[in-house]
Symmetry: C2
Subunit: 485 residues, 2 copies
C-alpha cells in the first residue's frame, strides 16, 4: 500500500503524493517514447487501479521533473494529457489533483473521451484500415503540390472530381464544379446556414436532431422550429403542414439514417419533401454524413437532390464517418454559383482545407465500395451486439433497430435521461441524454447510444448501463424545471 499523505490544508481532496514517490511508482513504464505520454499513461494506470486515490494532489511540475530527471515541459505535457483525458483536474494556484470521470476539465470538450471509460456518447468510429495507406499515397502525391501556395479555396480539383464521380455512381448527375470542399460536415452546415438564412427567419429542424446543426442555425440569429420525427420515421402530414404554415427559409434534414433516430426516408417521402419545399420557397440542407453507412442489405433511395429541379437542395457530405473523423474533410454539393458564394463566405474565417488530407480522401474515394463493405460489417456487428444485450439487460427499453448509421435511439420507461447520463460515468460508461438532441421538447425519456465500438466492449457497456439505470431509477426525481434553465 502506498503511503499517500492525508492533509486537509492543501489540495482539493486532502490527499497528496510527492515527487519522489510518484516517480518511483511511474518507474520503468516511463522509459517509452514520447516520454510525456508514457508518464501520463503511467499515472492514469495508477489512478485507474486505485494505487493513487482520486482527489490526490499531484506534485508540483518542477518537483516531479526533478524526481524523474526530465524537463519541466515534459511533466507539464503529461499533466495536460491527464487533464484532457479526464484523470486530473487543476485550478490556478491550487495545483493539480487526480480525478476520474467527467469532472476533469477534459469533459468540457464534448468529444474528448477517456481511454478506459466506454464512450457510447460520441458517434465517431475509429479509422478504417485504408487510412494509413491513403495517407502514404497522399505523401507521395504531395510532390505535385509543394511548389504552390497550398491554397485551393474550392478544394483540390482531383478531390472535387472524385466526390462528383461518387454522386454519379449513386445515381445523381454531378460535375466537379458543383462541389465545395470544407473542413468537415459541420463547417458545411454552418456555411449554408450563414448564406441561406436571414436573422429572425424560420429554420425548420427535425426533433430530435443533430445538436450542432441546431446551434449553427441559432448562431446566425434564425428562429428554429421543430417538426417531430416520431419512432418509425417522419410524419409526412405534419411535415407538409409545417412547410405550409411556417414557410421556413431553410429546413435541415437528415434523411439517411437520421441522427439520432436512425430512420431512413423513402423515395416517395423525399419527393414530397422537395415538392413542399419548392411550394414554400424553402432551401433544403440535406445532411448525408452517414448516407454511405447502410448496415442492412436493400436498395437505398436516391439522394434527396435527385428530386431537385431548381437548385434548392444543398447536400452535405463527409469523410469523417465513412473513413475517419481525424480527416477533417467534408463537402457541399450544390449549384456552381452557390459554390462560388460559399467559397467567398468561407474565407471570412478560414482560407482553405489541408492538402494532405484532401489527397488522402481522394485516394480513399477510389476504393469506396470496399470501404463501405468493411464499415457496414463492423457496424452490423456492433449494432447486433448492442441490440441483443439491450433486450437481455434492459427489456423495458424500447427502440427500433436502425438499418444504418452509427447510433441507436432508445426510449426508457421513466424520464431519467439526465440522471442516467450523470450516473453512468461512475459505472465507466458515457451516454448522450435525449435533451441534447431536443429542439423544443426536453426528450427526457431518451438516450442515444453509439455502436461504433467492438461487440464485446459494447456488450460490457450495456451491462454497466443496466446497473447505472437501476441506480438512476432508485434515485429521487429531480425537482421539475430545474434541469432546463
Amino acid at each position: 500500500m502506498v503511503p499517500i499523505t492525508e492533509s486537509g490544508a492543501m489540495s482539493a481532496g486532502g490527499r497528496r503524493i510527492d515527487g519522489p514517490l510518484l516517480a518511483k511508482l511511474i518507474g520503468a513504464s516511463a522509459l517509452k517514447r514520447p516520454y510525456y505520454l508514457a508518464v501520463g499513461r503511467a499515472v492514469r494506470d495508477l489512478v485507474l487501479d486505485g494505487r493513487i486515490p482520486t482527489h490526490t494532489r499531484l506534485p508540483a511540475e518542477r518537483d516531479l521533473a526533478a524526481a524523474l530527471r526530465v524537463s519541466r515541459n515534459t511533466v507539464s505535457a503529461a499533466y495536460t494529457w491527464l487533464r484532457e483525458n479526464g484523470y486530473a483536474d487543476s485550478r490556478p494556484g491550487a495545483g493539480s489533483w487526480t480525478v476520474l470521470g467527467p469532472t476533469g476539465s477534459g469533459s468540457r470538450a464534448p468529444l474528448t473521451s477517456s481511454a478506459e471509460h466506454i464512450d457510447l456518447g460520441a458517434a465517431a468510429p475509429s479509422a478504417i484500415d485504408g487510412v494509413r495507406d491513403a495517407s502514404r499515397s497522399a505523401v507521395e502525391r504531395l510532390t505535385a503540390h509543394v511548389d504552390g501556395s497550398g491554397y485551393a479555396p474550392y478544394g483540390l480539383p482531383e478531390l472535387r472530381h472524385a466526390i462528383a464521380r461518387r454522386y454519379v455512381e449513386r445515381g445523381l448527375p454531378t460535375t466537379p464544379e458543383q462541389i465545395l470542399v470544407t473542413n468537415g460536415a459541420l463547417q458545411a452546415v454552418a456555411l449554408l446556414m450563414e448564406l441561406l438564412l436571414e436573422p429572425g427567419e424560420r429554420a425548420m429542424v427535425e426533433s430530435p436532431t443533430y445538436p450542432y446543426a441546431l446551434r449553427a442555425a441559432c448562431r446566425v440569429g434564425a428562429s428554429p422550429r421543430a417538426v417531430a420525427v416520431p419512432p418509425g420515421g417522419w410524419d409526412m402530414g405534419a411535415m407538409a403542414d409545417a412547410f405550409r404554415r411556417w414557410r421556413p427559409g431553410v429546413a435541415y434534414l437528415v434523411p439517411d439514417f437520421q441522427n439520432p433516430t436512425g430512420a431512413l426516408m423513402d423515395d416517395e417521402e423525399r419527393r414530397t419533401v422537395v415538392a413542399e419545399a419548392h411550394r414554400a420557397g424553402t432551401s433544403l440542407i440535406v445532411d448525408e454524413s452517414v448516407a454511405e453507412l447502410a448496415i442492412d442489405a436493400g436498395d437505398q433511395p436516391a439522394p434527396m437532390a435527385a428530386h431537385d429541379r431548381d437548385g434548392r437542395v444543398h447536400t452535405v457530405g463527409s469523410a469523417a464517418k465513412l473513413f475517419w473523423g481525424g480527416l477533417r474533410i467534408g463537402w457541399i454539393r450544390t449549384t456552381p454559383p452557390m459554390v462560388a458564394k460559399l467559397a467567398t463566405a468561407r474565407q471570412r474565417t478560414d482560407l482553405s482545407s489541408p492538402v494532405l488530407e484532401q489527397l488522402a480522401v481522394t485516394h480513399l474515394l477510389s476504393d469506396v465500395l470496399r470501404i463501405r463493405t468493411e464499415r457496414s460489417r463492423q457496424l452490423r456487428r456492433g449494432r447486433d451486439a448492442m441490440v441483443a444485450e439491450l433486450r437481455a439487460r434492459l427489456p423495458d427499453w424500447r427502440f427500433a433497430s436502425p438499418s444504418g448509421g452509427l447510433v441507436l435511439w432508445a426510449a426508457m420507461p421513466h424520464p431519467l435521461a439526465t440522471v442516467l447520463a450523470q450516473t453512468a460515468p461512475r459505472y465507466g460508461v458515457h451516454v448522450a441524454p435525449g435533451p441534447v438532441f431536443g429542439a423544443e421538447e426536453p426528450l427526457e425519456y431518451y438516450v442515444r447510444l453509439s455502436y461504433t465500438l467492438a461487440p464485446e466492449i459494447l456488450a460490457d457497456a450495456v451491462r454497466r448501463l443496466a446497473e447505472a439505470h437501476t441506480e438512476a431509477v432508485a434515485r429521487p426525481a429531480p425537482a421539475p424545471g430545474r434541469l432546463y434553465v
Copy 2:
C-alpha cells in the same frame, strides 16, 4: 496555323474549336496522369502560346470526351481546372471559352493563382524542404491515433507541447494548456474577434492592415477604427491617443513585420502598447503569423505577450508562412480559461483540426531553427532581387526594404493602384492594390508586392510591372469616387 472557325453566332468571342481538332492539338501530352490535369495543362499551353486564341469556344464536354476516348467526367474536371486557373470561363447554356487573366471565374477566389502568370499578390510561399519528410513521419505516427475518434478539440497534446516549447525558446514562458490549435491563423483571429468583441464595440486596427482581419471584425458587428502606420513604423503618440479616446474592445496588431508595411515594433513600443491597452481595458490580438520570418540579422524583440501582466494579450501563430500554407494549422496562445472558451466557441462551426497535419507540424517544429534559416535565406534572396530591380526599373517608387516577412509596400508617384492592378495581368503579373489593405483611407498610392518567388522570376515580374506602370500612367485618370462605392 490552326483552322479555328470564326462565327459570330454561338460563343462569347465568336471563335470556336471542335472536339476532334482540340483532341489532336492536345495530342501526346495528355498521356500523363492524372489525365484531367494533363488535358487541362495541354489546353492551357495552347492558350498561352496563342495556338488557341482567347475567347475561343471550347467543344462540348461530351464531344471532347468522345474525341479523346475518355469519360465525360475527365473532361469536365479538366474544364473545371482551366476555369479555376483563369484559362477558361463559362456561362450556363453558353458553354465554355478560353480566357487569359483575371476575367476567369477563378479570379473570384483571391488565393487562386495561375501557373504562368507571376503572382506578386499572394503572400504564400511554397513548401519548405522538410514538409514531405514531416508528412512521412506523420503517417508513421498516425498508428497511435487511428483507433480513436480522431477528434482533439484543443489540439493534439504533442503539438500543443511543441508549440508551447517554441514560445519558451523565444523567451516567453508558456505551458501546453495555454495553446489552442486552430485551422490556420485566420480561424484563430476570427474566433478571438467573436469572443472578445460585442456588436457595435470598437475594434482598433492598423491602417494599412491585413484585410481578412478587418473582415473578421466586421463579421461580428464591431466598428473598426484605424490608426495609421506611417512609413517607418508606428506613431506611438497617435496610438496612445487612440487607445485613450476610443477605448476599443479589441486591438488587432501585427508587430512583427507588419502586414503590409513590413515594419517591426521595438521592445519599448511593445511595452507602451500593452500598458495603454491595460489602461483602456482593451484586449490585444497579436498576429505573429510571420514573426519567425526575420530576414536581416539582429535581435528580434520578445513577443508582445512577454509584457502582459493580466491575460489581455492573445497571440496568434501559424504554420502557413514558415512551413507551408497547404498545412492548415494555426494556434492561439492565451490563458487556459480562454482556451476552454475558444474551444467551445469553435465547435459551433468546426469540430477539430486534422490529425495528419497536426503530426506533421509537430515534427516540423522539432526542426524549426534549421527551417527558419532556410526560409530566411530564401526570402532574403527574393527581397534583394525585388529591391534591386525596383530601384533600377521604377526609380520613382518609394519603399523601405523590409527586415522580415514576405512583402514589400511600395508608394507610387501617382494614385494608380487600382488601375495598375487591372493593367498588370495583361503583362502577366498580378499585384495587390493598396485599397485592399485600407481600413478607412483608399491608399491608391500603394501596392503590396510579395517576394516569395525565385529571384529571377521576381526580376522578370518587376520588369513586367514597370511596363504595366508606364501604360497605367499614360491612361486617363478614372472619374473621382467611381472606384469606391
